[in-house]
């Protein structure tokens, strides 16, 4: 264990990390967002879902540093007297959960199909790549909207309300798998003719086993970068869907839902209800994206 830690701090990755101030700041911002979201139930100043603690007298309190602000509510309160900061922390939890799950789903689907297409070739390959081509013609947010709409229409209303979160994850995941499939297929095509794969084939290792334990470990590197860059995109897709009112259920508001709710109060001057969740969303997405950019450059030997 000691040795592993030492090897990490001696690595090129760590060296390039310490040399990039932007990356360090992004890592800190991302860490704050993630920790704040994960530990929200323990560290949030209020529980926005505890109806007993809500008091309408506290509604529409501006942020603490303004004249009418209350110290108790740092970023102010919304129309129901909910603390905006706590709502953001709980909302970030939902946003992160959906973003990460959707990315994992897209990765699993894309990697398996890309591996199959690249290794088996032939009709499967043409079919899968054709589907990729068609899907990539459309922006991913449109695909996610459509999948969400179709599932919504296909399921009875009560059933849909129960599994709405999974529907969003599924819709966003489906909209993003082609990128993973393309990446993996490309590297698989290179790997499958290398000698170690030929050797495995000669001694009679089954196809499935070659794909999983020989080819997969050698094509997974670029996937990590695509996944990191995709996480920001997935969080944004979720926020957009929820902002449009077709994403996560209102009982589990994400950052996008908070922005949509706050949008109704923009004209009466209560800007903080919508702007602060927006700032949190930007901070989260921007820091994740910058980390992804750094990882891509750091892992690319040509750019060293």
């Amino acid at each position: 264990m000691d040795q592993a830690i030492r090897r990490f701090f001696d690595s090129d990755l760590w060296f390039s990390f310490t040399r990039s101030p932007v990356t360090i700041v992004s890592a800190i911002v991302a860490a704050i967002c993630i920790l704040g979201a994960v530990f929200a139930p323990w560290i949030a100043p209020h529980n926005p879902f505890d109806l007993a603690s809500l008091n309408l007298i506290d509604a529409f309190k501006p942020p603490a540093w303004t004249e009418e602000g209350a110290r108790e509510y740092v970023l102010g309160t919304d129309d129901q007297g909910r603390d905006v900061l706590s709502a953001i922390m709980y909302g970030a939890r939902v946003s992160l959960l959906v973003g990460i799950s959707a990315t994992v789903f897209a990765t699993l689907l894309g990697v398996s199909l890309g591996l199959l297409a690249g290794y088996l070739g032939g009709a499967i390959d043409s079919l899968l790549m054709r589907i990729c081509d068609i899907q990539l013609t459309f922006p991913s947010i449109l695909v996610a909207l459509l999948v969400d709409g179709v599932v919504r229409a296909a399921l009875p209303r009560e059933v849909h309300a129960d599994i709405a979160l999974f529907v969003v994850i599924f819709a966003i995941g489906i909209s993003e798998w082609p990128k993973f499939a393309r990446t993996v297929r490309g590297s698989t095509l290179v790997e499958r003719n290398k000698e170690y794969v030929q050797a495995a084939r000669v001694i009679g290792v089954p196809k499935a086993r070659i794909m999983v334990s020989h080819v997969l470990p050698n094509v997974i590197g670029p996937v990590l970068v695509v996944a990191t860059l995709n996480l920001g995109l997935a969080i944004l897709s979720e926020a957009t869907l929820s902002f449009l009112g077709v994403g996560v259920p209102p009982t589990q508001p994400s950052l996008g839902t908070l922005i949509r709710i706050g949008n109704d109060f923009l004209f009466s001057g209560e800007w903080w209800i919508t702007i602060f969740p927006g700032v949190a969303l930007i901070a989260m997405v921007l820091s994740v994206n910058l980390l992804g950019d750094w990882l891509r450059d750091a892992l690319n030997p040509k750019l060293r």
């Binding site: 068609i134 459309f138 902002f243 702007i275 927006g278």
Partner: protein, 327 residues
């Protein structure tokens, strides 16, 4: 040239057919239109009669062929939500979306290309640094937040511009336009900026990167050595050679503009196709969804086709038949 166009059209057809198949499958298998049309109480005999009348008992492929035939004539049936012909609904809203998308794309091009050229030529001047920082904001802010921020500043705090709707429109035949009235033009400003900002920054960055690349090439050095004026070198030689990737991206981004019009139209309550689509998704209104899907894919395929043809016009190397060899 002719053979090239024909082969591209034949490549586009399977895409359209696949999308048509998906739209039809949505029509046929999602939800129960018969139950919706019959209402609460009905007998099995009534149901069978309606199924036969609508032709739902015929084989899948026959129904699919009928669907394509109807779609080609612009016939998509009735909206479940509004009980009006889908074709009428879309025709009413198309002008709003097209005017918005056109203005946004024009804005992105007219502002983005000069900014890109400028930042490419004077890469270390302070306006260039400012433009680059500004473009980072444009790339990382989600569309709906840009819209909300613009509304907050220009509609709520300053009160200069309206924040929703199209203002007054003038009907020209079947087309309603907001270009001819003052309120219509004012209402267009914020949505067009919201929709165009991402494309603007993208075009600027792309033109800048291409300019930097082209300015290093030998033929630019040769043009300078021949003593050509800066203007001729920058615009006649350099900019012209950045156009191929710019055309591709702009063409592909037109599709993205139409997709993100859904978001912009929701923020600004802009009465276009995107708003219609999002209301249909919320209400599971399948006929509108599948018609919109088909229409959008037709637009996308057409744009891709035009981009390919423009390639052909701009890059003489493609005409010699070496295939696509980059720029």
């Amino acid at each position: 040239m002719f053979a090239f166009i024909v082969s591209r059209i034949f490549q586009a057809l399977p895409v359209l057919l696949a999308v048509a198949l998906i739209s039809f499958a949505m029509f046929a298998y999602v939800g129960d239109p018969v139950a919706i049309m019959l209402g609460q109480d009905y007998t099995q005999a009534q149901r069978d009669a309606l199924v036969a009348e609508l032709g739902l008992d015929r084989p899948f492929w026959v129904q699919f062929a009928t669907f394509i035939g109807n779609a080609a004539q612009g016939e998509f049936g009735l909206s479940y939500r509004l009980s009006r012909p889908v074709a009428d609904l879309i025709a009413e809203r198309a002008p709003a979306t097209l005017e918005l998308a056109f203005t946004a794309a024009a804005l992105a091009l007219i502002v983005g290309v000069p900014m890109g050229v400028y930042t490419g030529l004077y890469r270390n001047s302070w306006p260039s640094r400012f433009f680059l920082t500004f473009s980072l904001i444009g790339v990382s802010l989600p569309t709906f937040l840009i819209g909300i921020l613009l509304i907050l500043v220009f509609a709520v705090w300053l009160g200069w511009l309206p924040s929703f709707g199209r203002g007054d429109t003038v009907a020209l035949g079947g087309w309603t336009t907001g270009f001819l009235t003052l309120t219509g033009l004012k209402a267009l400003v914020l949505p067009a900026i919201t929709l165009g900002l991402f494309q603007l920054t993208l075009i600027m960055r792309l033109v800048r990167a291409e300019m930097l690349e082209v300015l290093r090439t030998d033929y630019i050095k040769f043009a300078r050595a021949r003593g050509l004026p800066n203007r001729a070198v920058h615009f006649g030689h350099a900019l012209k050679n950045t156009l191929v990737p710019v055309i591709t991206i702009v063409g592909l981004q037109l599709g993205a503009i139409i997709a993100f019009a859904i978001v912009t139209e929701t923020v600004f309550q802009w009465p276009g196709m995107g708003l219609l689509f999002i209301q249909s998704v919320g209400a599971a209104d399948i006929p509108v969804m599948s018609a919109y899907l088909l229409l959008i894919s037709l637009v996308f395929v057409t744009i891709n086709l035009i981009v390919d043809l423009l390639y052909y016009a701009v890059d003489p190397r493609l005409r010699i038949g070496r295939g696509k060899g980059g720029h």
